[in-house]
């Protein structure tokens, strides 16, 4: 039976057919109103060489309840605003997988328009004007770089999962010092987004789905593509949902650990890390200097030490378990988790994820109390720290990750034999 297309779909299709090709495709996943989108278009219109730009807007996020075909083409004729179904961006209970699906959708659209590059805008920044999108796009169209990642101005208690695991782990694994390897605002060259769409990315390790968001930076770094960072203002993070933090942790870490498995041959060759080129000047933000309440996180850690020994015992070596038990007995004000211990915990969990020691979902969720313990310790360290001290603290953590890489490589290669 043939399905009659509804008039709205026909109009969108007509609009897409009007734009047969583009130089740059920008997917907007962030909530931007019509004025904001027009400002983005204006900013992109000032790019050198006046590239033809297509801005894909996810209408469900921008104007919930409104028709998808209300989009108007702003004044600049080289910028076309097209409503696009960014599939999966609203998957209930799986926001990370949904976001990755949206990225994939933007890559597919970029391929369809034959674009030279694409950008994904997923954040709202604290003090930025929409012009920052231009900063992300410029290195792609002007310098033919392959990956542009953001370097958001750092607030000490924001983006903690990135600071504690994602950024130092990727730096140690893939040898490039990238502050926000998972964006979420990213710029990709045609070469890179085609790689992300390629058949080898269709299915991950053991049939697990590939998450574009986590795979972009490793794919670029393993292929020795050109990467640069752009200094941007601080990002606005959503408030912590304590009820779902373990679920989010699992959703974010799982694709990273899967990528470790996929790229094992690549990261085992890397020995040291180097900086990547940066664009712009670091932006200063005011830092909170008051004391913070860590009692909830400490309580979670102590409960974990009491009740999750059975599960951690399958993942962590006895020496680590012993140290955790010792830490759990410390009073809150003396609580410090050594970076070396934290790094080994992350590596042991990555290994257990690979070996499927227990259900992967259980494994990653059981890591939550340990992660909160690290956050508590970090909060103690930096609660009165200024910008420089904060950077030094995170640099020490990254160095600890690099120093522990031999442990990771040994356990990865000989999981049964090498178990201290």
């Amino acid at each position: 039976m043939e399905v009659e297309p509804i008039p709205e779909q026909v109009q969108v299709q007509e609009k897409i057919e009007q734009v047969d090709s583009a130089d740059l495709v920008v997917g907007v996943l962030a909530e931007l109103d019509q004025v904001g989108l027009a400002a983005v278009c204006d900013a992109l219109g000032t790019l050198p060489g006046s590239p033809r730009v297509v801005v894909l807007r996810d209408d469900r996020a921008a104007n919930p309840g409104q028709s998808n075909v209300e989009a108007a083409t702003p004044g600049a004729s080289s910028c076309h605003l097209i409503p696009w179904s960014l599939l999966g961006s609203a998957t209930p209970g799986m926001p990370v997988a949904g976001t990755s699906a949206a990225y994939q959708s933007v890559f597919a659209a970029s391929e369809k328009f034959g674009a030279r590059a694409c950008c994904v805008i997923a954040s709202s920044l604290e003090t930025a004007t929409p012009g920052w999108v231009r900063e992300m796009a410029q290195p792609l169209v002007e310098r033919n770089l392959d990956l542009v990642v953001p370097h958001y101005a750092r607030r000490k208690f924001a983006g903690l999962l990135n600071s504690s695991i994602i950024s130092p782990l990727m730096r140690c694994l893939y040898g490039k010092r990238i502050n926000n390897p998972m964006g979420p605002d990213l710029g990709l060259s045609r070469r890179l987004f085609q790689k992300m769409l390629g058949p080898e990315r269709g299915a991950g390790v053991g049939g697990s789905p590939v998450h574009s968001l986590a795979s972009v930076a490793p794919a670029a770094l393993c292929e020795n593509l050109q990467v640069c960072e752009v200094h941007l203002p601080a990002r606005s993070y959503p408030p912590t949902d304590w009820m779902n933090i373990s679920s989010l942790l699992a959703q974010i870490l799982s694709p990273i650990f899967l990528d470790m498995e996929r790229n094992a041959a690549c990261w085992q060759r890397m020995r040291t890390s180097v900086s990547v080129s940066t664009i712009g000047e670091p932006l200063l933000v005011s830092q909170d200097t008051g004391t913070v309440d860590i009692s909830r996180m400490m309580e979670s850690f102590q409960l974990g030490v009491r009740d999750l020994q059975e599960i951690w015992g399958l993942v962590l070596p006895p020496s680590t378990l012993f140290e955790l038990r010792k830490l759990a007995r410390l009073p809150s004000e003396q609580f410090r988790m050594p970076d070396e211990l934290w790094v080994r915990i992350v590596y042991d969990f990555a290994l257990a994820h690979r070996l499927r020691t227990i259900s992967r979902d259980h494994l990653l969720k059981s890591m939550t109390p340990l992660y909160l313990a690290w956050v508590s310790s970090y909060a103690h360290d930096v609660e009165t720290a200024g910008r420089t001290a904060l950077e030094e603290r995170l640099e020490r953590l990254s160095v600890a990750y690099e120093a522990g890489k031999t442990y990771l490589v040994s356990r990865w290669r000989w999981p049964d034999r090498f178990n201290p």
Partner: protein
């Protein structure tokens, strides 16, 4: 009269002796079959044990998600459990063969009923296996979820869930084995109900604080004086 009694006694003795004499070879065959099966069982166990040890069967079993098998096993070793089970199976087979030598009619009936019972045994074993895996999975899910919600009775909750599933599984397995189904149903109802009531009371009493805290949080939100948390994880 006396002679008739003597004749009856002689006939009965002769009948008994004849019957006994006819049984002796069968009994001897039973003993021989038993001895041979014991020897074969021990040899097989002796072969299987080092084979499983070299395959690191105990560790692999734990990795495959059956660590509880070790708890039931002699000396906490599933390898020992498997090798002994093989030996016992061989001895049991030898015993059945030996019994068949004693009385063909009776033993063929026995063998028929044993064979007919095997599907029940297999079904019950499968139910137990699946039940154990499910119980373990659910217990872990509940434990991790409860710890991440900062619930102090996480272990109790997890144990409760595990035992509920185990009790349900054992009851289903016994039903399959057709062992006292009436008693099993009754016992299961009482036990299951007991666990549910215990958990309900434990959680109900334990979650008083949780509910109070939750209401306090709501009240704070409503009055607009809640303290903004500085931590942003993701």
């Amino acid at each position: 009269m006396w002679s008739q009694i003597r004749q009856q006694l002689a006939e009965s003795t002769s009948r008994f002796l004849t019957r006994f004499a006819s049984l002796v070879p069968g009994l001897a065959a039973l003993v021989v079959a038993l001895l041979i099966s014991i020897v074969v069982g021990c040899i097989l166990a002796a072969i299987v044990r080092p084979l499983l040890s070299s395959m690191r069967f105990d560790e692999r079993l734990a990795q495959w998600g059956f660590p509880s098998v070790a708890e039931w096993s002699p000396k906490q070793s599933p390898t020992l459990l498997v090798s002994r089970a093989i030996a016992i199976l061989v001895i049991l087979t030898g015993f059945l063969i030996g019994i068949a030598c004693v009385d063909a009619d009776w033993t063929s009936q026995l063998a028929r009923s044993v064979v007919a019972y095997i599907p029940n045994l297999l079904g019950a074993a499968l139910v137990l296996l699946v039940g154990t895996v499910v119980a373990r999975f659910l217990a872990r899910s509940v434990l991790i979820g409860a710890v991440n919600l900062n619930l102090h009775y996480a272990r109790l909750l997890s144990l409760g869930v595990k035992w509920m599933v185990v009790v349900l599984t054992v009851a289903m397995a016994l039903e399959h084995l057709r062992i006292a189904p009436g008693i099993v149903k009754l016992a299961f109802g009482i036990l299951f109900g007991g666990i549910v009531i215990t958990l309900a009371l434990a959680v109900g009493l334990g979650s008083k604080d949780l509910v109070t805290k939750s209401l306090e949080r709501d009240a704070q939100k409503a009055s607009g004086d809640n303290i903004e948390e500085p931590f942003r994880h993701i």
